[in-house]
Amino acid sequence: MALSGIQIYKMLPQTNCKECGFPTCLAFAMKLAAKQVELSACPYVSDASKKQLAESAAPPIRLITLKSNGTEVKVGNEVCMFRHEKTFYNKPGLFLRVKASDPELAKKVSEAAAYKVNYVGMDFTLDGFAIEADGDLAAAVKAVRGVSKRPLMLIGNDAAVLDSSLALLAGEGTLVYAADSTNYESLADTAKKHKASLVVKADSLDALADLTQKVQAKGVEDMVLDLGGKNMGEWLARSTQARRLALKSNFKPLGYPTIYFADTHGVDKEAVYAAQTIHT
């Protein structure tokens, strides 16, 4: 939870030395609470206070960056429930799902990577590709990398397979899908080893919050939530609750961006689901 000026004041040296440029420590604390100055302006603040203040300043929804050689997708870091309260910062990333077993994989990815729509001077493109490990994943990753440099997401549950494929993507920020209660230990280890972000999946918010804490204990900080839900109503309720808990109650275990597979409902409904998950 964001700290008040008074709470911050208690962590400052309270010497009124003026070196930060403000007449008193309290004035400086008020500016800090309003996020108008940086804590580094105070030369005397203790390391313990620094750590505590940094934690309180952490965004309620974690910023996740997926990157490759050249482009990156940033999601999360949001601070409000509604657009009119302030603004939304990061656009949702749009990924195309492809199958490792597809003999036309390279052709499809190459066509999709070339796709763009110009709209009032901006080029809209796909943000990346999600490769399903239903065949030789490492070979598929190589094939995709042969035709596109966009960020990747790997879909699989065999840690060894994911490990060897992530090794091909050294230096990139890849997303791994998905850790659940049965495989999170091995997947968290793999994600940590390769500095990948990890999707965490469970069928209730309670189970999800439990799992993100377990994954975090394994050393993975960058997570994305798969909220599950069997229909639009359930997804909407979970997504709203997760976001509200993260923003209003600073509930860290659900303070992550979300992912949704709009393609699983057929062509007609794909856009409907995508529209709902983007809007909520």
Partner: protein, 176 residues
């Protein structure tokens, strides 16, 4: 024209519109006299919505016969403004502001089919893809966004959009 229609359909409950701040008096008067409802349209602004609702109810129209039309834009044509106004109206209503506690009607069909993306099938970039699919998606996506921001009645044009939006509404209304 609305007056004879209102009289001829006395006994039914139609929604008469569009009431705007310039013309609302006549429409509201005939709706009151013949037991109909009115659609109160204002241009994407919370306070203007409230103001028109107040003016109409001051004429003696019961509030359960007024439907707000906060106006919307189509996807890519200002939908975010309409969306925010609707969210704010709904939040104000939930916080107890009586003059915003009315259902909302929006016209995504009309708005979406005004756009070049829906209307034009030739001479547009190839990347826009199949015209028919695009036009229906445009209308459907506009409608879904408005449902998520609190719309109660959606006026659509294409039967396929109606089908898709109906399915979405059913999914949203499943008890948790």
């Amino acid at each position: 024209m609305l007056v004879p229609i209102a009289e001829a359909t006395k006994g039914e409950q139609l929604v008469l519109g569009i009431c705007e701040d310039k013309n609302y008096r006549t429409i509201v008067a005939t709706a009151m006299a013949n037991g109909h409802l009115v659609q109160a349209r204002t241009p994407m602004d919370v306070n203007l919505s409230k103001q028109l609702n107040i003016l109409i109810s001051d004429m003696g129209m019961p509030k359960d016969r007024i439907i707000m039309d906060p106006t919307t834009g189509a996807l890519g044509y200002g939908i975010e403004y309409g969306y925010s106004v609707m969210e704010r109206l709904r939040l104000a209503a939930l916080q107890g502001d009586a003059m915003t506690q009315l259902p909302m009607i929006v016209t995504p069909g009309f708005e979406a089919w005004k756009t070049k993306e829906s209307k034009v099938g030739e001479g547009v970039p190839e990347a826009w893809g199949d015209w028919n699919a695009r036009a229906i998606n445009w209308e459907t996506l506009t409608a879904i966004a408005l449902i998520e921001s609190g719309a109660d009645i959606l006026v659509l044009r294409h039967p396929e959009s109606v089908r898709r939006v109906k399915e979405a509404i059913e999914e949203l209304m499943v008890a948790a």
